[in-house]
Symmetry: D2
Subunit: 298 residues, 4 copies
């Protein structure tokens, strides 16, 4: 069966878990490379303090032996190093049993200092709370949290190692942040590869990056946040991934779902899809001919 | 099980087929409404001549009895009324058996007037041909064709009738075409609903639509095509569709896949996702508060 | 993606439909072989009269061109040749519209001569009627009918042609019927292959078959039916089908589901699973060594 | 989405993992009940010494807070308490890195004392080894091991608690072992419920159980094993589980797959399916009428 994965875990719960199925047997796995990706996820200018404290490490529970895949499901766990401080709030047991007597609230849940009753705009709080009929929205936001992406980063690190077996490579970089620069950056593969792992914003233009950082500082001061655009580029992709034969196997659709399921991602384009919407077909085709080769699998 | 569907059929084959599973039993079905959607799909200024000739009609093969769903799979067939002229090119049998003796080509296939050996840019021809190892790219393009969307339109017409049971309605309209107008149109629900079914471009602004039509005429004259943007709006959507609990159940991701699997669709945004990428978080939130309610299910 | 299929269609509806996905491109397809399997399904001593009247033929609607698969979904339709007589009872439209005015019953359905209100034991009538909240159990039994297996026979005929590409062959035969013979028959591959396609009971022992036929005659006279056992044998199966890595990929489980989802099938064994339940492990292993090779994929 | 689960983990690996999705939010969970089922799995006369040493305990990593489900995936881990002794044999790292220098063998794997090169009959060793191209069959048998069922027992314990919300209960008992008694036992629900949790064989007839134990002793002395039959009975099952509408939703098929995917299970019957194969339809129906109600969902 094909590569597929499931994630589990709450933001302040005991651990995040990812189970990856469909990796071939006998594939060498570099655990350090997985941890490096987890480390990269925790960098980035302007992130919350928590990112700095935790240092995520993956623990392989199954599927890998002596540095190679067994062909069986690979279960990965990322422990929450701060869980000791959340034991009471997020523990599996009733807090009463865990030491502190508490009264159940009207809906049968238990009150605690960290309960959340006011839904935040642009989050799953309201819809999730209505869907599941819960009063303490922490029950929703703990799973809806962007921390879940740590499990996906570990999964993606495995996927990258699988792709590498076929000579395929994937890179990403930030090309616009808070309208800086006015037009999103356009960089070559080499320029993108030249970005250091410890780059503050993963931007291929240092000067632009300084401006972005200044914009972040300004937004932070006024208690605000900034939108942005990142580009993901793949090289050496084998011909024939996805399929034109069934709607749910089309590569564009599967890519779009994968990205749009990431928290706060609200738009996806393949190639220059957005710009093309205002252009002539001939302009688009010229570009495809001379630059990319683009989307023949759609 | 939930609503799910499979489509089958080649562009010039005998018929398109859609099998829809997961509809509840006892739901009234309006066949005319399905055919009206198929008719709407065939309208539109600037489409090829074929669209005008065919008049797609759905034939229900199963799952509906006496105007109501049975809870069993609904199989729908849209016959290709022009198939008699394509019998030899697309027939299931070898053309020899169908009347015309022909010599097999080097790969064992059979030559015919309609074979396609030169892949078109921006289509699945090249990747599909390489993937399946075929010389006559008609074997690819017949299935990769946008005609497949007729089966999806019939499926969508059923989905609309299911949503209507819950008071939900879906509309779409064209908001930009070939950079006309400069900024995509912003229309109210009432304005969108006011568009006539026989509107040439399904645009809510008649004046703008005239300009779009003129642009199409110009592009056509020079053998070119035009990009554009359409907006899909839903009203009365029940709270809690999709789920924040698993990456592949997130509503945004599923919507993005559905749209991006449509031929020639190369970008998807939820709300004002593209614009937001260059804005402050506070600007986005203000909008959500006062206008839409947006994406709490993400 | 792997071989997968969906069927649709009611017993007395317009048509049965099967959509098969995952067949490789460029595979030669023998339509006559599919029809021969459909014909075989309609033979068999003691079957109802309907079997004799209909002569099922498959119509390929998609996925096959010039005798070869395209790699796209293969849609197959088996028309109900008797549908003209069932138009009113099973039609998509309300019978009123189809010519005969009728009064809606209390639940909003329409009465007709063929409505079924008394659930039959051992059928889906009762559970289905309760599940879907219907009064006329015809809404259930039309889909729950064994006629659905015609769509699966067509699907299986395609699967056999796929397996043949790998040198694998599948045969079946009846080894016991109504306790005749006392112990189920044990036959060699050659003996099974020697059964004629027009064999009345598909039994490899003609003498035993005569006794079975006599038992059927006796049961029929007293308005009764008979249980039986059939054996399915595969030869030349490629090593490694299924997988030990995930519970839902195990070959034994998938085989068991496939058989047990066939109407009236109430038990499945792999090899001599039932007999083994009362034996020593050493007795089973001896047999595996010298006879079959058995279930190493479990 | 519906209840679904994935398991991971090797027999002597670090841990077994089960991720269960589709549990409703707000359902009370009894962790002790899960552990009791794990304990029951480890009892049983005649089991290997390992069963006695380990005492499996589940650790909930996600999806449960304050004794209730969150509606998010429930990840459960069962640590291998003996892993310290298997670190070198089953470790994720190369043993060299783990302390002991070793030479890679011809296929690039590493030799160790516990490598298995001779496939055992009736196991996945041979097929798995050929499928995955491995020389050390430990890479196969560690996942194909029956220890994987511990993760399924934990999953099943959650499923039982879900069913209990609807008043449904499930019990099992051993009804024959090594042909003792000659005919499988037939017991009432009350008799089955009366079996103690610490029963040596989970058999409802103490006298018969003593004979079974004696048979196990005899088999053990001669280095042999014994086949047997267990019966699983459900009470209070809600009407309408499964569906007659699609082959892969039929309840009988799904039950058959679930059981047949369990190691060493080689036959499944619904009701008295095996006996019925040699009976008249009228005999079966009589029984259904007066005893069970049986399989109307098929």
């Amino acid at each position: 069966m094909f590569f597929r994965f499931t994630t589990a875990g709450e933001s302040h719960g005991k651990a995040l878990v990812a189970v990856v199925e469909g990796l071939p047997a006998g594939m060498p796995i570099d655990i350090d490379a997985i941890n490096r990706e987890l480390w990269r996820r925790q960098q980035g200018y302007g992130r919350g303090g928590r990112m700095k404290i935790e240092s995520d490490k993956v623990e392989i529970l199954s599927g890998i032996r002596h540095g190679q895949t067994l062909g069986s499901p690979v279960a990965m766990m990322i422990e929450n190093k701060d869980f000791v401080h959340w034991q009471e709030v997020m523990g599996v047991e009733l807090p009463a049993l865990a030491g502190t007597p508490q009264k159940p609230d009207r809906k049968g849940g238990l009150k605690n200092d960290r309960s959340v009753t006011r839904p935040r705009p642009g989050h799953a709080d309201l819809a999730g709370g209505q869907k599941f009929g819960v009063r303490d929205l922490r029950n929703i936001l703990e799973r809806a949290s962007a921390r879940e992406t740590a499990a996906r980063v570990a999964t993606g690190a495995l996927a990258k190692q699988l792709l590498a077996q076929f000579g395929a490579e994937i890179r990403s970089h930030v090309i616009q942040l808070g309208a800086i620069p006015t037009e999103p950056l356009s960089k070559t593969w080499e320029e993108i590869c030249a970005i250091n792992d410890d780059s503050l914003l993963n931007c291929a233009d240092e000067e632009v990056q300084s401006e972005m950082i200044a914009a972040i500082d300004r937004a932070k001061e006024s208690g605000d946040t900034l939108g942005g655009i990142y580009e993901v580029v793949a090289k050496g992709v084998p011909v024939g991934l996805g399929s034109h034969t069934s709607w749910n196997e089309k590569l564009d659709g599967r890519i779009a779902q994968a990205f749009m399921s990431i928290h706060a991602t609200k738009a996806v384009e393949i190639g220059t899809g957005i710009t093309n919407a205002a252009r002539l077909g001939s302009e688009v085709h010229d570009e495809i001919y001379y630059e990319t080769g683009d989307d023949a699998t759609k």
